[in-house]
Symmetry: C2
Subunit: 499 residues, 2 copies
C-alpha cells in the first residue's frame, strides 16, 4: 500500500500519514457521488443550509484536535490556525445563507396573458465537483474550504483531494465531515475524499466528475486544466493560482512611508509569505526613501518556516532566479536551517527592468519581495503595462484628493480581480460583494471567484423549460415560488420571495 506522509516543517520529522487512494477507490467514490447527485440537487435550500451548518458546528466542536494536528503539519501556529477554523465555519454558514437567498439560481419566468408559464430558466447543479485544497490554508481552502462549501451549497456532491502537506488533518477533517453530514441527514455520497497525487489525476479524468475547483500553484492549476481539456467530455477547471500582486505608493501616499513600509513587511512576510495575495512588487517614489524604511521594518521580522520541503526549495530557486533576472539583494534574514526553514529576502530592481517576459515577474511563493523605486508616476504606469493579470493590487494614496491615485485604481482594475486603497491585499472576507479571482494566469476563468457569494456560480448551469407544465418544473421556478427565492418574472426582478 502506497502511503502519503506529511512532515513537521519546524523539524522535518514525520508528522502524519495516510494510505493513497487506489483507482478502484476513486471510481467507487465517484460512482457513489453520482448516485447521490440527484438527491443533493433536489434538497430544498433550507435543508442544504442545515448540512452546511452541521459542518460548521462540527469543525468548531473539534477545534482543538484539528488545530493541534494542523499545527504539527504546517507550523502555522495555533493562533492563526484557530482563527482559520473559525473563519471556515463562518464561510460554511455564509454559503448556506447564499443557498437560501437563492439568487444564484438565476430563476426567471415568462408568462402569457393567461398567467401560464411559457418559459422558465433556472440554474441546476452540474453534478460531482472535485476540489483540490491549497497547501497554505489547511482549513479556509482545505477539505471543507471555499470550493467544497460553495459546491455543496450549490447542490453538488463533492470529492476532495486531501493536500499531501497536511494529509492527517485533511483525513481527520473528512471523517468529521462525514459524521456531521450523516447526522444531518445528507445523502450518502454527498461528500468524499481521496488521498495522493495519482488519485487526484484519476478524479479529474473520471467521466462522472463534472467540474473541478483548485487553489494552489500555477503549475498545479494548469496541469489539471490541461487534463480536463483532454477529456472526451471537457469539464471546467476553476483554478485560482498565484501571481505577483503589485502595490503602488503614490508621491502623496508616501507621506507616512514608515507606516507603509511596516505594513508592507507585515503583508509579505505574514504566514512566511505563503499567500496567493502576497504583495510581491512595491513601487515607491525614490524621494521617499522607501527602500530604507522597508529595510528597517524588516529587521523586526523573525525567521520563516515554509510549509513543505518543496516550497522551501522553490523559495531558494525562485530567489536565485530573481537575482539572475536583474534584482539586487537589499537584506536577507536567514532561516534557522532546521526543518523547512527559509530566508526572508528583500530585493530591489530598477523600474526599467520591469518588462513583460522578464523572470523578475515570476511569482516567488514565500517571504520575498521586490521594491522598485521610481522618479515619476508615468514610469509606474508603463511598468504596470508589462505585468501579467493578478489576483489583487493596492494603491497607497494621500487621501481622496491625490491626483495620481484614481487613474492608478482604474488602470489596476483592468489587470486584477481586486483593488485596495490604503489597505493590504492579504485577508479576503467571504461576503456577498467579494471577488477573489482575476485575469489569466491569476485564474483559469476570469469570471470565477473562489470566495464570496458568487463562488456558487461555478457549480451550476442554466436550463430553460419551454411550455413545460407547471407541475413538472423544478421547485425554483414553480408557481407560488415554493423555495421563496429571488426570481425574475416577465423581465422584472422580484425580491423577498414573493414572486
Amino acid at each position: 500500500m502506497s502511503m502519503v506522509t506529511s512532515y513537521d516543517p519546524r523539524t522535518g520529522a514525520d508528522a502524519g500519514s495516510a494510505a493513497a487512494s487506489t483507482d478502484a477507490e476513486v471510481y467507487d467514490l465517484v460512482a457513489q457521488a453520482g448516485s447521490a447527485a440527484a438527491a443533493v440537487a433536489a434538497a430544498p435550500p433550507l435543508e442544504r443550509r442545515r448540512w452546511l451548518r452541521a459542518l460548521a458546528d462540527a469543525l468548531e466542536a473539534h477545534l482543538e484536535e484539528l488545530v493541534a494536528l494542523a499545527d504539527l503539519e504546517t507550523g502555522l501556529g495555533p493562533v492563526r490556525l484557530s482563527a482559520e477554523v473559525a473563519r471556515t465555519a463562518d464561510q460554511l454558514r455564509f454559503y448556506g445563507d447564499v443557498t437560501v437567498e437563492g439568487s444564484f439560481l438565476g430563476a426567471s419566468l415568462e408568462t402569457d396573458a393567461s398567467g401560464t408559464i411559457r418559459l422558465a430558466r433556472v440554474n441546476q447543479p452540474v453534478g460531482l465537483v472535485a476540489t483540490f485544497g491549497a497547501s497554505n490554508f489547511p482549513f479556509v481552502f482545505g477539505m471543507l474550504g471555499n470550493d467544497t462549501g460553495s459546491a455543496l451549497a450549490a447542490g453538488c456532491p463533492v470529492v476532495v483531494k486531501a493536500h499531501d502537506a497536511h494529509v492527517a488533518v485533511g483525513v481527520r477533517t473528512a471523517e468529521i465531515a462525514q459524521e456531521a453530514l450523516a447526522a444531518a441527514g445528507a445523502p450518502e455520497g454527498a461528500f468524499g475524499h481521496v488521498v495522493g497525487f495519482d488519485a487526484g489525476v484519476s478524479l479529474v479524468r473520471c467521466p462522472g466528475t463534472r467540474a473541478v475547483g483548485f487553489t494552489g500553484s500555477q503549475q498545479g492549476g494548469l496541469s489539471l486544466w490541461r487534463l480536463a481539456n483532454e477529456r472526451e467530455v471537457v469539464i471546467p477547471v476553476y483554478a485560482e493560482m498565484g501571481t505577483v500582486n503589485p502595490v503602488v505608493v503614490t508621491p502623496a501616499g508616501a507621506a507616512d512611508i514608515a507606516s507603509v513600509a511596516r505594513g508592507f513587511v507585515g503583508a509579505f512576510t505574514q504566514g512566511s509569505g505563503q499567500y496567493c495575495t502576497k504583495p510581491g512588487l512595491l513601487f515607491a517614489p525614490r524621494s521617499a526613501a522607501a527602500l530604507a524604511e522597508v529595510t528597517r521594518a524588516l529587521e523586526q521580522v523573525g525567521p520563516a518556516v515554509m510549509l513543505t520541503r518543496r516550497i522551501a526549495e522553490s523559495l531558494r530557486d525562485g530567489t536565485s532566479r530573481l537575482l539572475s533576472a536583474g534584482a539586487t539583494t537589499v537584506l536577507v534574514r536567514p532561516g534557522s536551517g532546521t526543518g523547512w526553514s527559509g530566508d526572508v529576502t528583500l530585493l530591489t530592481a530598477p523600474v526599467e527592468s520591469i518588462r513583460a517576459g522578464s523572470r523578475l515577474l515570476d511569482e516567488c511563493f514565500g517571504p520575498v519581495a521586490i521594491v522598485v523605486e521610481y522618479d515619476d508616476v508615468a514610469e509606474v504606469v508603463t511598468a504596470l503595462g508589462e505585468l501579467q493579470g493578478a489576483l489583487a493590487a493596492s494603491v497607497f494614496a494621500g487621501g481622496s484628493t491625490d491626483p495620481d491615485a484614481a487613474p492608478l485604481v482604474s488602470r489596476l482594475a483592468g489587470m486584477v480581480g481586486r483593488v485596495c486603497v490604503n489597505a493590504w491585499t492579504p485577508g479576503v472576507a467571504c461576503t456577498w460583494a467579494q471577488h477573489h479571482g482575476g485575469p489569466w494566469p491569476a485564474t483559469s476563468d476570469p469570471r470565477a471567484t473562489s470566495m464570496g457569494a458568487a463562488a456558487l456560480d461555478r457549480w451550476v448551469r442554466p436550463v430553460a423549460y419551454q411550455d413545460v407544465p407547471a407541475a413538472w418544473l423544478p421547485p425554483a421556478v414553480q408557481p407560488g415560488n415554493p423555495w421563496k427565492i429571488v426570481r425574475r418574472v416577465d423581465g422584472v426582478l422580484v425580491t423577498g420571495g414573493t414572486a
Copy 2:
C-alpha cells in the same frame, strides 16, 4: 489581393466577393478597438442603448437591400430573411434594455456603520470581443447578431469575422453598422470587421483580443477553442456548436401521431434542416406507426438547397456515415441536382443501436433525421443515457397527467440546455428567461448562452474595490446609484434603481 467569393446556392454561380483582410489590417483593427475599449466601457447604459437602437433602425432602413443580397448568397428566401432582419433589430433593442436594467453588472456594495462603502463588486467589460457569425443565420447570428449585440451592450468593442458564405451581405451590413454607430456618437473602433479564414485566425491570436464568440460547427468551434488555449494569455471562447437534439414521443403523446409527424417533418426540414436546434432523433412508440406517419408527411416537402457547397457535401457524407453506422433509409426526396441542392432523407434505426460512440449519433447538418421506434419507455431512458450533451430536446406528452413525461423532462434537463414540451426545438426567443446553450460538446462552456439577457454575462468579469474612496469607484457602484441599476447593498438585492 486574395478574395473571398460567395455563391448563389440555387445555381452555384458567383454571388458576391470581398477582399480578404491582411494581417496588418487585422492588427490595425484590433489596435483601434483597443483604443476604443475604455470609452465603450465608460459609456453610460442609456448611451449604449442609443447605439444599439441606432443599429436596429439602420438594419430596418436597409431591409430590402440586405434581404436581396442575403437571398442571393443563401437561397433562404425573402420571407424568412425579412423576418430575420426584423428579429435581429428586436434583439439589438432588447440587449439595449438589458444594459439599462443593469443587473448583468452584478453590482454589490458593502458599507460600514458610518455608511461608507468598504467593498464594492462590479462586473467590468473584458475589452475587445471577436465574434464569428454562423452560416445559417446571416442576420440573427451575423455581423450584428446575438454575439455582437450582447458584447456591445456589455460595453465591449467588437470585431466580427464576416462569414464566407454570405460575405457580401456581411460587408454591407458592417458598412451600415459603421455609419449608424458614427452617427449615434459611438467611439471610433467600437465596431470593425474582417474577411477571410486567415484573418479570423489572426484575430483570435491577437493579444488585444479578450474573448471570442462563435456559432457554427463543432469542428470550427473547437478549432478556435484550441487556438485560444494555445495563446500566452488564454482567453475564453464561447462556442455554440451543433449536436443531435433528441425528441421523445411518449405512448400517451402519440395519440395524435399524425400531427406530431407533420410537426417533426416541418422542424427537421425547415431552412433545409440547417439549424443547430434541428430535432435529429425522434423516439416514438412502435405501436403508433410514427414512421409511416412521418413518411407520409415528408411527401409534402419540396427539394432542399444547402447554404454552401461544403455543407451540401457534408450532408451527403454525413448521410452515408449514418447508413454505414446501421441506419436504414425510409425515404429520400432527392435534390434538384443544380447548385448546392441536397437530398431530404428519413432514416430509421433500432433502439439498441443508440450507443455512445456510435457514428449514428454524429450530427448531420441538413434535412436528415432518424426515427427510432421503441416498445417500452425504459428503452428510451437507456438510449438517452448514451447521447452527448445537446442544445435542446422535446417531449411530446399526453397532457399533464402523462405518467412518462415528467421523468423524461427531468432526465433531458440533465443533458441539454432547453427542454420543450409539445413544442419543437427550432425557434429561440431572445428574452430574459432564455437559455441557448448546453453541456459539452453542444457548447464549449455549459454556463454560457448565446442568446437572451444572460448573453451579456460572457463579456464581463468582476472586480472588487476594497476601501476605495467613493469618487474613484465606477459609476455602477457609486453612492446615489447614478446609473439607476439593480444593486445588492449589504447582501440585499435592491431593485428599481433606488439603491
